[in-house]
Symmetry: C2
Amino acid sequence: MEKLSKELIGASTIPIILSILSKNESYGYEIIQSVKEISDGKIEYGDGTLYPVLHKLERKELIESYWKIGESGKKRKYYKLSPNGKKELISEKENWAIINQIISKLWKIEPNLT
Amino acid sequence: MEKLSKELIGASTIPIILSILSKNESYGYEIIQSVKEISDGKIEYGDGTLYPVLHKLERKELIESYWKIGESGKKRKYYKLSPNGKKELISEKENWAIINQIISKLWKIEPNLT
DNA sequence: TTTTTATACATCGAACTTCTATGTATATTT
DNA sequence: AAATATACATAGAAGTTCGATGTATAAAAA
């Protein structure tokens, strides 16, 4: 079982995070676990990777945060999708559909690879 | 008609270039036109964007180049896929399939976006 | 009891990318 | 003769991911 390329990770990070937050409010550490689980271990964000992305998304006002003490007793920074974030997610889905169309068009006419 | 996001452009550039070269040998300027056409104008590489990518792919020995004077009389640097490049393209296709699976899993269970 | 592991967040610097701008040069069209 | 299209190249700015490092607390293990 292989890991994904850095480029694809990069392209998918924001839509994946927004998508997760569109279902449930969550916090950094949990998001890392969720993505790992959903992707069967194929995407494992380092914390040093994810936190700056969350900060960026908050700066761009696509997500909002608030502190909360979890059942564990440790403080967590919860994030939720903002109205702008919902719009952004819709746009990301459209983009994804477009690129898939382009790529599948290219790959449908099979070259001689074998 | 909108343009694609920078991130998706980034993730798709290499698979698209390799895919085009797997069908026909081509040169930088023509590749830019091809991609523009295939994508209905949604992907327009600047020359300052594409050429460094081609150089990188050549450095990594995924493509090979040779100079040729075209019918136009201008010299062109033609590129073709190397054996490594063919393998890489296969790998890129697999990666793309994996990420699509992950994303569609996330998006199948529809959140309340509307 | 003490140590380790898991949880939880943050930031820095290295390495790499894309993009815009700029430069060179030739052929074709106006 | 000038403008446009063709064709390639590189440098610098801006942005990104990632590994390393740091802080702190709770739970589990030794």
